[in-house]
């Protein structure tokens, strides 16, 4: 005796199933096996390794969720730097986690004031992708100015003679910031993205400081829409053979090879239970009624919570990616004597960092996001958060004494930072963050310093991404 299972699909030739055709035992046997295989892949039961985890290539259609949809609305003024900045400053620097199977073309859009008019002729806004050792593997790539706003210094076409030009402040005050966009090919897994803008501070009294704004940014898959409305065909009329109200191991009927044999009887039990199995699997997987039924019968969903099927496959899922501040790779410090004094220079409205590091012996919050959590399994939580920071003091600075932890439904363990390559960028990935399925919660990033008397590096918080990463 053996459980009927078909690890590959063979299907049934149409000629075997027309009206008045003989009912071939092998066709029924194969279909029952295919049904069982689909169920095993969806539930992870019976040790099936080819589970449906939405990674593509036969493992289920990728979900195609956006990585980032963040509203920032911050001024990116630079206050009295010394020396004066006239270079590209990273206004967005974030870790990004790309789900397996989503290594494709992505669209990056950033709403940001145009660079200063003296920079006309250059795009002035670029994007660069880095790997985990901070080796640039794409870019810098010029953005394409695709929408919104009027560049400072450019004529306004309102019939004035001579033509008027828009000022920085006028652009700042408009809600329609220009949008710069890119098409980026992302790899699966964790990587880092920076968006840099040409920035220069005008001398005080000669036009004032750079009066610019960072509005919002988005990162989402380059879409190709269905050319025809997809639908699961529906041909039944009438009430279907009753469904079970739940899809759990107890409502699934397994079939043995002795139940479908050559020259054996056509077993009504096999037919009716196989029909119920497929009905149940259809509703559980699609979330839609079985064709011909007006409404759902089943009350259980395919969620990944392992409540019914303990081996149900877990999936990658982006939660939130947020930019938290700016950096300048050239070594320009955005802060002055941070151990003893309040910050006074730099991109102060768009930077975040501990001011008096020796006092931060108990964790202090540096970021707070509100997130709804999926109904995923909480056992061995797969919720992670990667935090990107910069040691603006330069490459010789160490951040070895800094620690980070995340509080959501509970508090995670405490993690240290790892320097990326020979740069002054450091990151930390906090794993196994407690969460409550199906619930909104605050996701709070906390930093502290373990040896407050030590001379350890300054730290600027740049960006964070929370995500589920399946094993």
């Amino acid at each position: 005796m053996a459980r009927i299972l078909a690890s590959t699909f063979a299907g049934t030739p149409p000629s075997e199933v027309v009206a008045d055709a003989s009912i071939y035992w092998r066709a029924l046997y194969q279909a029952l096996g295919e049904m069982a295989e689909v169920k095993d892949r969806l539930t992870g039961e019976n040790g099936n390794a080819v589970t449906i985890n939405h990674t593509g290539s036969g493992r289920g259609c990728p979900l195609g969720l956006a990585i980032a949809n963040q509203h920032i609305d911050a001024r990116i003024d630079i206050t009295d730097p010394s020396p004066a900045v006239a270079d590209y400053v990273d206004v967005i620097a974030v870790p990004i986690f790309v789900a397996t199977g989503e290594d494709q073309s992505w669209v990056l859009e950033v709403e940001i004031s145009d660079p200063k008019p003296f920079n006309e002729g250059e795009v002035g806004v670029t994007a660069t992708l880095f790997d985990s050792s901070w080796a640039a593997f794409q870019g810098p790539i010029d953005g394409r100015r695709t929408a919104g706003g009027i560049a400072p210094g450019r004529p306004i076409n309102d019939g004035s003679a001579p033509p008027r030009t828009i000022t920085d402040e006028q652009q700042f005050n408009t809600t329609a910031l220009p949008t710069y966009s890119w098409n980026l090919t992302l790899s699966a897994g964790l990587q880092f993205l920076t968006v840099s803008r040409f920035t220069r501070v005008l001398a005080s009294g000669v036009g004032g400081n750079d009066s610019s704004k960072l509005g919002a940014w988005r990162l989402y898959p380059a879409r190709r829409q269905a050319s025809r409305t997809g639908a699961v065909p529906s041909s039944s009329v009438g009430n279907n053979h009753p469904l079970p109200t739940t899809f759990v191991p107890g409502t699934w009927v397994e079939f043995d090879s002795t139940q479908v044999e050559e020259s054996g009887p056509l077993d009504a039990y096999v037919i009716s239970r196989a029909n119920r199995n497929i009905n149940a699997l259809t509703e559980w997987m699609t979330g839609a009624p079985v064709a011909g039924n007006a409404s759902m019968t089943m009350t259980t969903n395919r969620l990944g919570n392992r409540a019914s099927f303990t081996a149900e496959p877990l999936i990658d899922l982006p939660i939130a990616c947020v930019a938290l501040g700016s950096s300048y790779a050239g070594g320009f410090k955005l802060i002055v004597a941070p151990q003893t004094l309040a910050a006074s220079t730099g991109m102060l409205q768009w930077s975040r960092f501990p001011v008096t590091r020796p006092d931060i012996v108990t964790p202090a919050s540096v970021a707070l996001m509100r997130c709804i959590m999926p109904n995923f399994s909480t056992a061995s939580s797969l919720l992670r958060l990667t935090l990107l920071v910069q040691a603006p003091g330069g490459g010789a600075t160490t951040l070895n004494d800094w620690r980070v932890r995340v509080t959501a439904a509970g508090t995670s363990g405490t993690f240290s930072f790892t320097r990326m390559g020979a740069t002054n960028y450091w990151s930390s990935t906090i794993t196994a963050i407690p969460f409550t399925p199906g619930s909104h919660q605050n996701v709070i990033v906390n930093l502290h310093h373990i040896t407050p008397a030590a001379i350890d590096g300054d730290l600027i918080v740049l960006g964070a991404m929370a995500y589920f990463e399946a094993p």
């Binding site: 689909v38 195609g64 501990p354």
Partner: protein, 226 residues
Amino acid sequence: MTLKRFISSKALLAVEATSLSPAVADSLAESILGRSRMLWELATGENPIADDEGATGLNPQGKRGVDRSGAPWGTACLHPLWTYESEANQTSTLVYGRTTPWISLGEVGQSQRRTITVEVKPFQERQMTPYSRGLLQVLGFRLGGAGVGSATATITCLSSDEASSTSSTLTVSSTALTVASGSPFFTLRPGINTLTFEVKLTAKSGVATGVSIDVATLSQFAVRSH
């Protein structure tokens, strides 16, 4: 193109699955043999018969298989669609950062609107599908020093038809971040959505000098329907 393998979505009717009902070849075929093909394709996202026509239509992404964008393309996963993150209510003096509140109201009757942009994954546009609604949740705190007092604000999601707008109420009696009660939502469409909401201060008392909104999120909050 020749159909190499049989496809069907037809389930056995109750009358066909009762005792003593006749076994009809094409009914059995349709309910079991044909549907196993469709299940396979929806689950794996691939047409298992390479040179055959697909058994199912393309999903809203233009791909094959269930992509969890709502029925019939699978139960959705709850997740945030849009984020406004802030530390402006950070009371610690140990962390420097932006301290200007996103929305701050001081006079009763005063209101401010914010327009946000969010990209939503493709979904089949029907009522009651999970991605057709985005739940707006905001957190705010009371302005004013220590003491007894509270401020109340109404947060309203404005659609193109303002008569169908929905709202929540934020009542804050301390400087701690507080979640607005209620479930205001936007009606969403696939792709880029430009959405506007309004915050209006409706009352204040005691030491309260106003209200500040500092954290907000828009969420996909239904698995199958609303």
